[in-house]
């Protein structure tokens, strides 16, 4: 189970998260939605210690990760993988080396075994033919596939997907949706998905939480999200430029 308890975070004068509390039961999929700059990515990065909260607590099962040292976070990061918004493959490494890195560092495998495992993982996302190429040699969509392979290579119990379908063609996006669903259904993986993709939300999510002005505006099943009468949520679902929604200021402005 993942639990955020009264988490607040401020950057300069901008209050990004204001007393946010959310719970994701084991094996379930929570979609976090909201306008750009609403603090969705900031919230999920707290879970793996990439950002520390100003106040509040974060739990992974019964383990409080809020103030763990960088070293104490290593086992947490082994259990909880993250697929970043920009793929974040390392330019100086081949695709196979990128996927093998967590195996080398977390599991201390020897390079040959890690490479063989990386090739197997790449084959699962149909990228084995490009294993010896560099990230700069392939397109955004393919990079995202490799990033997903790298995140799943340690068989994590928890996965954070930060806008996993952005930049993907519809078929590739549907594959990612299917993968997220299958991780939950077949392997009991708990997932948090940051997304704007309403099609994915209604197809994959067990719960949906909407962040607005640093707070949780809505937290419930997709059906509640679909039938809500809240004018801000309705404006978001319907994608209307006019409405009550106020957009966040750029950071530092």
């Amino acid at each position: 189970m993942i639990r955020f308890e009264n988490v607040s975070k401020r950057f300069g004068t901008h209050q990004v998260l204001d007393d946010v509390s959310l719970t994701v039961p084991k094996g379930r999929i929570l979609f976090i939605i909201g306008t750009s700059g609403a603090g969705k990515s900031v919230l999920v990065k707290h879970l793996v210690g990439l950002i520390r909260p100003d106040s509040g607590r974060i739990f992974l099962d019964d383990l409080e990760v809020t103030q763990l040292s960088e070293k104490a976070l290593y086992p947490v990061r082994k259990r909880c993988a993250m697929v970043f918004q920009h793929s974040t493959l390392f330019d100086s490494m081949t695709l196979a080396e990128n996927v093998a890195l967590p195996l080398l560092k977390h599991r201390k495998l020897d390079p040959e075994t890690a490479d063989a495992e990386a090739l197997r993982r790449l084959a699962q996302v149909h990228m084995e033919a490009s294993a010896r190429r560099y990230p700069a040699d392939i397109g955004d969509g393919l990079r995202k596939r490799v990033a997903i392979a790298r995140a799943l290579t340690l068989e994590p119990e928890y996965v954070i997907f930060d806008e996993p379908t952005t930049g993907l063609d519809p078929v590739a996006a549907a594959n990612v949706d299917q993968l997220i669903r299958s991780l939950s259904a077949d392997f009991g993986v708990t997932s948090i998905v940051v997304s704007h993709d309403l099609r994915s939300i209604f197809k994959v999510a067990d719960r949906v939480a909407m962040l607005y002005q640093g707070k949780v505006l809505l937290d419930g099943p997709p059906s509640a999200f679909r039938s809500t009468t809240d004018p801000v949520v309705r404006q978001f679902i319907e994608g209307r430029p006019e409405g009550p929604m106020r957009f966040p200021r750029a950071r530092g402005s």
């Binding site: 990065k45 793996v48 990439l50 960088e70 290593y74 990061r77 082994k78 993988a81 993250m82 970043f84 918004q85 920009h86 974040t88 493959l89 390392f90 330019d91 100086s92 890195l101 967590p102 560092k105 977390h106 790298r150 950071r251 530092g252």
Partner: protein, 252 residues
């Protein structure tokens, strides 16, 4: 206060780099290290050649103009110029040039990795950014700052000698005399080059790793890296010149 915090953070990064070096960072990151050797060293050769060459020409020309007015005796100009080049010009001018070219490059590269979340991804893979990113650049910069200092010194002296010989007809053997250069001069020059080679990548990497925001943040980090690295070279030059004077040059 901000300066003190920056200095403390830079020291922390410096010691972390040594710690990872002792844990075999260079062997693990040998591919990155070799690429950095090429980027920092080979690609700086032309830049250093032109800068130190022009400096040699202009310095010798100006000095000879003045010496000609005061005493028409040129035999000391070459040896004194070589001594100054070894002690001061070669390491410091090379250091300043590397601070601009290499410092900006390191900060821009690391800053881009920060804003595209590659550094976060490294941390999630249990890979320390100092081990993977800073240590290879640090040692490539140390090695090449020393080598380029020696190379730049030779270029500067040779270019100065050409002016002395062609314009004032000073014999080659008179200009190239090493009679004023002692081992302590070379030690002082190499000590400075090594110190600059360590300070530049640390100042640049720190600026890069502290990047916030998007491309604007990378630009700010790059500027800060060049300013901090150049400032570090100037301050170290002052401190190490004083130290050299106390250790070796006093009473000479």
């Amino acid at each position: 206060m901000g300066l003190l915090i920056a200095f403390r953070d830079a020291l922390g990064l410096f010691f972390a780099t040594w710690r990872w070096t002792f844990r075999g960072s260079l062997f693990r990151q040998r591919k990155v290290f070799l690429r950095q050797l090429h980027d920092i060293g080979n690609r700086s050769v032309l830049f250093i050649t032109v800068t130190l060459g022009v400096l040699g020409v202009i310095s010798v020309f100006q000095v000879l103009l003045q010496v000609e007015r005061i005493l028409p005796e040129f035999s000391v100009v070459g040896p004194a110029f070589i001594q100054t080049m070894v002690r001061e010009f070669a390491p410091t001018i090379t250091g300043l040039m590397i601070a601009t070219r290499v410092g900006s490059g390191i900060a821009a590269e690391l800053g881009s990795m920060v804003v595209t979340e590659q550094v976060d991804a490294l941390r999630l893979c249990n890979a320390d950014p100092v081990d993977y990113l800073v240590a290879p650049r640090f040692w490539a910069c140390v090695l090449h700052t020393v080598l380029l200092t020696v190379y730049g010194g030779v270029v500067g002296v040779c270019c100065g000698a050409v002016v002395a010989h062609e314009v004032w007809e000073i014999p080659w053997t008179s200009f190239f005399s090493l009679r004023l250069v002692e081992l302590s001069d070379a030690a002082s020059g190499l000590m400075k080059a090594t110190a600059y080679g360590m300070a530049i990548p640390i100042a640049a990497a720190q600026a890069g790793l502290e990047t916030t925001g998007g491309s604007e943040g990378v630009g700010i980090a790059t500027t800060r890296a060049v300013v901090n690295a150049s400032f570090a070279v100037v301050v170290l030059d002052f401190l190490l010149s004083g130290l050299s004077f106390l250790l070796w040059f006093q009473g000479r």
